[in-house]
Symmetry: C2
Subunit: 804 residues, 2 copies
């Protein structure tokens, strides 16, 4: 058992770590050379073009202004300056609502902390059972402040039950207010959005193959028949996964070519060479630049062939289409209704934003989806429950007595008081953290196999899986395996009323573990988030080896985005910890409070200065956040019941039974009241926007506007010539704000290989023009992705294509 | 433990009872006087007008043709003559699909019975553990044929597991085929239906009150804005519950008046009198006919006042409306989409058929629905779990040893061998049956409190509740309480893996109980269903005391309809029993098979000759039937696992684990594949019917057709004068088939009090014309209800109103 001293040491270490990270961040961020690592959002937004402040050569790389070093924490007030509305405009609703989760945490836990500390600590301490037992049982000091200290059958448990009621009501009230707010924000956001392709478009899956008709014809026929007044046009989807793979390979080759060319430029005395064989390990030694140039050319040919094949072969047209309607009303109707007699055919759903589409999964045959889902849910179950074994093993090591027994030679080191405290405080949390590091990638791959077609959905699914994992392994696993690994197996053989008891009893004992976990994962983890070590290193490496032009430098910039699959579940875990321990061991609450406040500052800063969201889902993750906080409430109620029943508080425990029922009823109410705002698009809203459109722009050419919104990336270069006309029209009509002045300028340092458009989204989005000569290169992303332009002054904006 | 002899006695008793019922039925049905009890459907259909066959006076009442007595079972082949298509036309899809459940039972269980008996009985019998134990333990002979007879750790359990797999696959295959069939039948039925009001209509609930606007205006405005091309008109709903109550009271008074008038006619020497006070027990003695005439007149005045009040008071307009659209497409769109930003406002759903509407619940304020649902689910839970106590008490009495101990003076009687067998075989099942008798009424009331607005939904909800009740109390309750009532309490304290074991072990021992249950509830119960004792008695009582005219005789006829809330759950219980015992005690299967076959015949006869469905839901109950059979499969698999694990068949039990997962996956697939056909209306279908309509009847006046379809009953007489014009138009255009020749003729025996239209639906449907003189009486039901006309030859048909 960790003592208060251990906690103190751990807190000190973690605070120092966090401070070290913050200091490093403060120093690094004001160096001009790191500007693109710490302020990429402003570059992307067009708010900043270059970090060069002074004319001094050294000042280009190192900050010489001493004053800025003194105010190294000034990013904090800066981060708070921007209002929420500005954040929505600057970074989108997703980011703004993501920040609200932290403020919700603060708002929920500040009063709870105050009340719990003021009321429960005196109640618990004065009960003082454990004071007398000190010598017999090894109990931590923390336990004296917890419910464990209260005598069995004590009347004081009514205080705990009362507070559980109070806290539940308070949390539900806050959740209701917040859900209401977020739903309103979402509706307002959607209502105030400009005209966007996805508002008019529906993705149709599993279209039946009619013999003698092309897929395009049958789509046209079906929707002309069944939505005669509203159907506008559709966009077929090609299976270009193989082509996308070629693009990725060519990218890699291009990088090697760039690297070698740069090397040659810097050391013109020696042409770089490489071995032509496998992995460059053996074979004939050849000139690297020539080799890669040749390879790239080969790939260009291959890709041209493959593209022709995809376009010619009718089999490469997938039974999926993006169907566009003349009005938002028509699209809303089609997305929400059943089209065909056979409910597995002509499945309609809202189309994701074009940049949100995960093209690769569109090629998955619909029939396999059910099987994929079954397999993935079984694997997630296996992963969640069998991952426990290694964690339990590491945790049993973190039990120092166990460690000493396994490795007796370590005893002298372990027995050192400081090391002992360090190990006890730091090790369990750290071990868990390392385990968790590789997990999100696995879960994301699993979600991809499940076959969702939008990045946002993929991230939400991965996040759900991660949450189950955390719940079982971090929360339950730590509580149960920590005390007795054997209990795991016997878990299935316990009665349903026994399980909450077993867990409930262990909960107070595990408070110290979770306090250190919060400090390691929460405090130090968040501080390391702001430092952005990995992007920093990668940026400088790229800068050194690959960057030839200003455009390459843009490309080397990796703004990243909020990592929802990882941050949402850990946030939800903190809510769970806070809610469960609020009544049991209230001393844990301040640690959580510090986490929420600190993380809020850090993420606010990152969202304003760094992250560049890949997509905008309009806070579609909120219902999950809400329902998982509700789940936390239920878990806390069950565990408290279990805990109290072991305390023989038979008179008071039944009082708690009504609470979960009320909580569930509240959840159901909220679900009915708010969730449709996140899943459906009300016709009232659609009609209002349609009418507004019709009055403001009666002669809008919607077909032109939508023409290539959901064009598969492969089409970009192929239909260039034909599309230019349409696109120019469109830009003039719709997009007065879009900047179209990105013709290649003298800023281009080398006219050599065909320029690539830089994308922040998934690989298949690469548009690619290998055959066009450098003079008439197009810089357009898949609409409406960001296309970087590198004229001076470089603008950044949403635009649909560029003119030569 | 009951022996094979006990079962034999019980079987004999039940078969004799069933035969007695059948014989009674055969004798009674051929008496002309009972014709209206046993063939009401033909009267309603217009297929039969009078039972009078010969001119003989006696032959009017008693069948004198001896030949017909000899062929007293000839109703069975007659019942099989009608084809399924004919049944659909004759009695609707609900009835036809209801019969399919029985054929499904036969189809599923015939091969299972054959296989199980051929394979399992030899396997079980030859194992012969129990033969040697005979003296020590009291085991029934049935047990020797069951799995109990197999030695623990025997390799023979692989046979049982293999058969469980085989049966599961077979049942799933049959379920899939059947679901497919039913879904197809439903779609075909909906597609081939004639034009009906509900196809164009959507019920809108929880409309917001806008200040300064009437509800009608705001409905018009909302739908004209949001469905401008499709909105046609709407029908406001009035809160007429108080008025309906008055109608019911007046009906009762009218009955008393009729009774007294009839009495006076038969005994003209003495005018009937009654006491005017409370319940006719004290007070001044008055002339009954005058008294009731006066009372009826009073009520007429009251009702006129109340109707005026309802119509004048804007507060009596409920925030509910039936909104009609110009096309089925428009209605399908509106029913399936979300209308308003606030998802709890403007809730749209398909309107039930007009005769299916449960008007009273339309007045329930929407906000209270969530609370009502919560309260009802809690009460159902309480009912399901605390109803157990009395049943357990009765069952413990049915344990003869217990009975002897409680009432030792009964010992001499009980010890008589025959009585003992009778009690053991008959009593437990009977006790349960009596308990279950009053239950459906309670559950129906509960469902009504929940606030569903269609009779069909109410019946389905009541049926679900009854199923839970049967599952817990009849199935689990009989298994567990029978062996040890104390186990019930300790149930919650057992581990999740222990519960299937506890139940699994008791299952083979309970086979005899369920066999007797099947015979009492299934065989004898079904035979009593065909006898229709209750309607028979009531008809003759009414015939004696109330019937003055031929029309009154029509009214006294009570065809009833399939009692879904009761029959569906018990059917599902038989499926459960069959599936659970198929592997455990296969000797039970023939009993179930006999039940399915016999019940099929009986219900087929009843549906053809007796029942008159109150509504047509298009087999909307099928998804429930399907998912409950799946649930039975899961239960059987779990229990078999539990049973085998107590048999220490450790090697073979894990093989079963994969089965529930596969079953669940199958269920999920079926849900996705077929359920939308029962919940939504595909646009393809709607559009096809719209187009057909437009081509066949381009100048249809849809507004007139829909005008009074959802007219609240209270309007019927009030707007008579204005509506006549419209209606006449409508009839000419739409309803060539409708008979309109029901002017009052000389057949009317007395011109006295205003004639009432006879309805088979809920009370508020009564149309009522107290102020109109008898000469210009209207005979119209609430559209499209059956209106009986009593001219000669009396026709019966769907029609919307009558002309004077």
């Amino acid at each position: 058992m960790a003592t208060l001293g251990d906690i103190g040491v751990s807190a000190l270490i973690n605070i120092l770590t966090a401070f070290a990270f913050l200091l490093a961040f403060a120093l690094l961020r004001i160096q001009p050379i790191n500007d693109r690592v710490y302020f990429p959002k402003w570059y992307i937004n067009g708010g900043r073009t270059s970090p060069r402040r002074g004319g001094n050569f050294v000042a280009k790389f190192v900050n010489l202004n001493c004053m800025t070093y003194l105010t190294f924490l000034n990013w904090m007030p800066q981060a708070l300056k921007m209002s929420e509305t500005e954040i929505i405009n600057h970074a989108g609703l997703d980011s703004a609502v993501f920040l609200r989760i932290y403020t919700l945490g603060v708002k929920i836990f500040v009063p709870i902390t105050v009340v719990a500390l003021l009321i429960l600590i005196p109640v618990n301490v004065s009960s003082g059972t454990l004071f007398f037992l000190r010598k017999e049982l090894v109990v931590s000091d923390i336990d004296k402040l917890s419910i464990s200290n209260v005598r069995t059958e004590s009347i004081r448990f009514f205080v705990h039950i009362g507070l559980e009621y109070l806290f539940t009501i308070w949390i539900c009230y806050m959740l209701y207010k917040e859900y209401d707010n977020v739903a309103r924000m979402r509706l307002h956001f959607l209502a105030s959005q400009r005209r966007r392709a996805e508002q008019f478009t529906v993705v149709v899956r599993n279209m039946p193959q009619m013999s003698g008709h092309s897929i395009s014809d049958s789509v046209d026929h079906f929707f002309k028949t069944n939505h005669p007044d509203h159907y506008l046009c559709h966009q077929a989807v090609y299976n270009a996964n193989k082509f996308a793979k070629l693009v990725r390979k060519r990218d890699r080759l291009q990088n090697w070519l760039d690297y070698n060319q740069l090397k040659f430029e810097r050391h013109p005395e020696k042409r770089p060479t490489k071995k032509a064989g496998f992995l460059g390990l053996w074979g004939e030694r050849v000139d690297s630049i020539d080799f890669y140039k040749h390879q790239v050319k080969e790939f260009d040919k291959k890709m041209a062939l493959e593209r022709q094949k995809v376009l010619k072969d009718p089999k490469s047209i997938l039974p999926v289409a993006f169907v566009s309607f003349k009005s938002r009303w028509g699209a809303a109707v089609c997305a929400q209704t059943q089209q065909s007699k056979n409910p597995t055919l002509w499945l309609t759903n809202w189309a994701p934003e074009p940049r949100d589409v995960y093209w690769r999964n569109l090629a998955i045959p619909f029939v396999s989806l059910t099987i994929r889902k079954l397999i993935i849910s079984l694997s997630v179950f296996a992963l969640v429950f069998f991952y426990m074994i290694p964690i339990a093993f590491v945790q049993s090591l973190a039990n120092l007595e166990g460690l000493e027994r396994v490795a007796p030679f370590l005893r002298p080191v372990i027995e050192l008081k400081f090391i002992k405290s360090f190990l006890q405080g730091f090790l369990p949390g750290l071990a868990l953290k390392i385990f968790l590091y590789i997990l999100p990638t696995i879960l994301m791959i699993m979600s991809k196999i499940e076959g969702h077609i939008a990045l946002s959905t993929l991230e939400r699914r991965a996040s759900a899986k991660y949450y189950y994992f955390m719940l079982v392994n971090v929360f339950l696993g730590s509580i149960v395996t920590g005390t007795a690994f054997e209990q795991l197996h016997s878990f299935l053989h316990q009665s349903p009323t026994q399980i909450p008891r077993t867990i409930g009893v262990s909960i107070p004992m595990k408070a110290t573990f979770f306090i250190t976990y919060i400090m390691v994962d929460g405090w130090a983890g968040i501080a390391s988030e702001i430092l952005r070590l990995k992007p920093l290193v990668i940026f400088h490496l790229k800068n050194m080896f690959l960057v030839k032009t200003e455009r390459d430098r843009e490309k080397a910039m990796d703004p990243g985005s909020v990592d929802y699959p990882e941050t949402l579940p850990s946030l939800q875990l903190y809510f769970l910890l806070g809610i469960v321990y609020a009544v049991v061991t209230p001393i844990l609450l301040p640690f959580i409070l510090v986490f929420f406040a600190f993380a809020y500052l850090v993420y606010r800063h990152q969202i304003i200065n760094v992250y560049n969201p890949q997509y905008e889902s309009g806070a579609a993750f909120w219902p999950h956040v809400h329902s998982r906080i509700i789940a936390s409430l239920l878990i806390s109620q069950l565990l408290l019941m279990g805990l109290l029943s072991t305390k023989k508080a038979a008179n008071s425990t039944p009082l708690l039974v009504i609470l979960p029922i009320l909580t569930l009823a509240f959840h159901k109410y909220c679900k009915n009241r708010f969730e449709p705002a996140f899943r459906k698009y009300p016709l009232e809203e659609a009609m209002a926007k349609d009418i507004m459109d019709r009055t403001t722009e009666p002669d809008l050419n919607l077909k032109a506007f939508l023409a290539d919104a959901y064009l598969h990336p492969i089409f970009r270069t192929f239909e260039e010539e034909e599309l230019v006309e349409v696109r120019v029209d469109k830009v003039r009509v719709d997009r007065q704000q879009s900047y179209a002045d990105n013709a290649p300028t003298s800023d281009l340092s080398s006219p050599s290989p065909p320029h690539e458009v830089y994308h922040s989204t998934s690989p298949p989005h690469h548009s690619y023009q290998p055959t066009s000569p450098p003079q008439d290169v197009y810089y357009h992303g898949s609409t409406p992705q960001y296309a970087y332009n590198f004229s001076s002054p470089p603008h950044y904006g949403y635009h649909y294509e560029a003119e030569p």
